[in-house]
Symmetry: C2
């Protein structure tokens, strides 16, 4: 049995964030001391580690909620879990694609100006003002 501060240290999740997860229903409400302070067991620690790892991988609170719901039914098919992970993967891939297009455009814009001229002739500002100067979609 350990306090919320101890749990925070072990999982590297901040104390208010732990309380927030509890409020969102991701973490079960733990036992309390006579003085109303939260006391966690290893189960709470494992659950929070799971949540943190999933958040690190970019899963939304809602997706994590579904995954936890699944964990509570070990006998069900894990198809849904795989689907959620695949969904997350395609979101990440879409973001990468978009960011790469932005990277190219920004590179072109930033290289077009050495920063030594004046604002009036600045290629950076001209590019932002006029989309037609762009190479690609974004």
């Amino acid at each position: 049995m350990f306090s919320i501060g101890e749990l925070s240290k072990r999982t590297k999740v901040k104390v208010p964030t732990i309380r927030y997860y509890e409020e969102m229903g991701l973490l079960a409400e733990p036992e309390r001391t006579a003085g109303n302070q939260r006391r966690y067991t290893n189960e709470g620690l494992e659950r929070l580690s799971f949540i943190r790892h999933a958040r690190d991988l970019g899963f939304s609170i809602e997706a994590i909620s579904s995954l936890i719901e699944l964990q509570n039914h070990p006998d069900r098919s894990c198809e849904a879990a795989t689907k959620i992970a695949e969904g997350q993967l395609s979101e990440v891939r879409a973001k990468i694609k978009r960011l790469k297009a932005l990277e190219n455009e920004l590179k072109r814009i930033a290289q077009g100006c050495d920063g030594r001229g004046v604002v009036e002739d600045c290629y950076v500002l001209a590019s932002l003002a006029d989309h037609d100067l762009c190479d690609q979609d974004h």
Copy 2:
């Protein structure tokens, strides 16, 4: 002179968003009709196109604010503008790097399970529960 709806159509920025930009000080307060409705000129249209393009490229409202401030002083050096664009570029690159690490991890996790088993043995869920199963930092 045209209405906010017309401006919205031409720039593809939603009406409430235009009002929001005005409130944030990105757009100058336009003239009003006798009945208190906004009326824009070409200047407003150009300004909003600039903002939209910069937002599409991921610049924050704050960064755009600085860029607009610069535009109001055409005689100044454009070093600051170039710096802002370069800053944005490195942020984008950092995001891409992080997302690529996530992509690898998610690919590995999603491939580890064909979705045909049961939750109890699911590699997706096991991977999320145990960070040690991961290949790389993320």
